[in-house]
Symmetry: C2
Subunit: 158 residues, 2 copies
């Protein structure tokens, strides 16, 4: 009788532990999905501001120094963001739905950070572009940073 | 005959002008939609980082000084962003699909900017929170800034 009670207790505890682990896993999965969504929002804003500058470079929108400064400044802030809240371990492509993050982001963290630093520099350089031609010249650095990072650290479409 | 030619020319020019206006309008509509999407991405990132801090405040996630600093720092950068590329005139609720921006954003631009400044200050204050209780205390300022802005400048659900 005593042994049966003990066994029941052990079973009960195991069930509680499994439930806790299940809760923790589901909590982690939720955090992972949210981190991936936030990264996508960051990329959306980077793409948007690059597009604002690109339209000026292509003559589709009028050159305006304040707009260039604002768009480049926002790009700079986005590039400079602390990635530790966004690029959580366990959120690579295949680990979380919708993620295209390659494992190299974590195995080569310094290289990955360097790409964001390139975008940081290129957007800083763009801030004081004085005319549409200067915006066009600066687009090389910005587009180049985007492309280089995507080539190395972004996986194929899901 | 000459008069007919002239008439044809005038008609042709009018058509070209209408086409140009149409292109400009469609270009502007595209820009408006993109600006609204970028604003939503900004709000998504603000919500995400507020959630990271909120989970620590509620004890759902462990307190970690580096995470708090990163999340609060990113919030600060998001609050500080130059809104001139995002809150374009003509992108209020009813003017662009999906927008919930009230007209007051433009008629009371200083008041609107002050709300972002409140979030900027609250997130700066949060950066050096030393434990979960301090994060909890700081959440009041962050949540309060979000709420105050939404109450005054965000329209009902679409």
């Amino acid at each position: 009788m005593k042994s049966l009670k003990k066994q029941t207790l052990v079973l009960g505890l195991s069930a509680a532990l499994i439930a806790t682990a299940g809760y923790a896993a589901s909590h982690a999965a939720k955090s992972s999905n949210k981190a991936v969504a936030a990264r996508h929002a960051q990329m959306q804003m980077i793409g948007y501001h690059t597009g604002v500058l690109g339209a000026i470079a292509k003559g589709e929108a009028e050159f305006d120094a304040a707009t260039v400064k604002a768009a480049a400044g926002n790009l700079h802030a986005l590039a400079k963001m602390d990635g530790s809240t966004l690029w959580l371990e366990g959120t690579a492509q295949g680990e979380v739905d919708g993620s295209r993050a390659k494992a190299e982001i974590w195995t080569d963290a310094a290289g990955f950070a360097a790409k964001f630093a390139d975008l940081e520099k290129a957007s800083m350089d763009m801030m004081n572009a004085g005319d549409a031609a200067a915006v066009g010249a600066g687009m090389g650095g910005i587009g180049g940073a985007c492309k280089a990072c995507h080539e190395t650290y972004r996986g194929p479409k899901n």
